[in-house]
Symmetry: C2
Subunit: 197 residues, 2 copies
DNA sequence: TAGCCTACCAAGCACTTGTTTGGTTCGTCT
DNA sequence: AGACGAACCAAACAAGTGCTTGGTAGGCTA
């Protein structure tokens, strides 16, 4: 029996199916019947495994973000220079796009809407932590002389953040480019610019 | 009687209200009752002005894109250098984010979903034109020596496109930064990089 | 073999959704 | 005065929504 992704239990398999559909069509545009159809069962049967449709996307986003932050925290605690940490964070993010493509896509598309519910308050909290981490690294990079001193840190932060994560819209895992290659090119553009020098 | 935006007819006023709500919550998350409530009428009354909810978003996106392309075509037909044209297109895009904020936000959030319907086939068509324009300018810039010769044009195109349009998520018309200022900073980062040189 | 558990079905419920229909108000123009 | 049209109301409808309930097939274990 073919299974979705790396799922081992039926529950994980269903969650992976839901993740794919949420990512493709958006959370609100995906019905529990869509998920059930894709899994070959009836919609009511999903409720044997999950409390609600919201609980599914909650579990997807929360577990993904927890895993991501383990890596971010390790980078932040390392003894590399600010610029190196910045590069590490970018690479970690592209790895996340590669390995948790659906989750990132859901986050990109639906986080703004989901964030309006109490249940997903942690999304906003993580956003704050993310902003603190990146702007801190940028400021340190400017202070250490590794980055240009005329940078508007806030604007560069938003530039960086959006540039990295929005790549989920075109990047396809298993395609021509590895996440490492994409990260290299992005960092090269970002650090050196595209102008002929 | 206060009116939304620059609307002069009731129809335009309703369309502006719908645009704001679509942009804030997404198309699917906005009900016709939401729109009607915001306008102070009953949901059925909307159908005196519009054929359907889809027709509303259709009109918003189509008219916005037509206006945008008038400007793009003028830039493409100008006698400036490839790099200058590239800068002009970026500036025109940030102007669009400033002046048609809701429409851009709707496009960013819902185009992928809406594009699956026949009615919105023009969205995909415009995407192709957009890609042709930008990759063409990038290739010309490389050929003319204005841009680095080791650029992966396809990747830089996606980088540019996403970087510019995703700014709609944080840019607020009437805030501290004018669209021109944002464009200047974005272009500076893009062309020169953020590394201390 | 009896009990139990996982996974599922069959049917439906309460609610929300976009949309329709027939009628009403009210200002404008002849 | 009368006709007309733009704007809106009141009420409903059919389809779709997330979710619930009671029941069942079949494998595993004691």
């Amino acid at each position: 029996m073919p299974r979705e992704g790396t799922a081992v239990t039926r529950r994980e398999e269903l969650l992976a199916i839901a993740a794919r559909l949420f990512a493709e069509r958006g959370f609100k545009n995906t019905t529990v019947r869509d998920i059930a159809d894709a899994a070959g069962i009836l919609s009511g049967s999903l409720y044997h495994h999950f409390d609600s449709k919201e609980a599914m996307v909650d579990e997807l986003l929360d577990s993904f973000q927890q895993e991501l932050w383990v890596r971010y925290d390790a980078i932040a605690a390392s003894d590399r220079t600010p610029r190196q940490k910045l590069e590490d964070v970018v690479r970690a993010s592209f790895d996340a796009i590669d390995q948790h493509h659906s989750e990132v896509a859901i986050f990109q598309t639906d986080a703004a809407y989901l964030g309006t519910f109490d249940r997903f308050a942690y999304l906003e909290e993580r956003n704050v932590r993310f902003r603190t981490l990146w702007t801190g690294l940028l400021a340190e990079g400017v202070a250490s002389g590794e980055l240009r001193s005329d940078l508007d840190v806030e604007l560069v932060y938003r530039f960086l953040r959006d540039t990295v994560w929005v790549a989920v819209r075109w990047y396809r895992p298993g395609g021509d480019l590895t996440p490492g290659q994409v990260a290299d090119q992005y960092l090269h553009i970002l650090l050196e610019g595209i102008r002929h020098g």
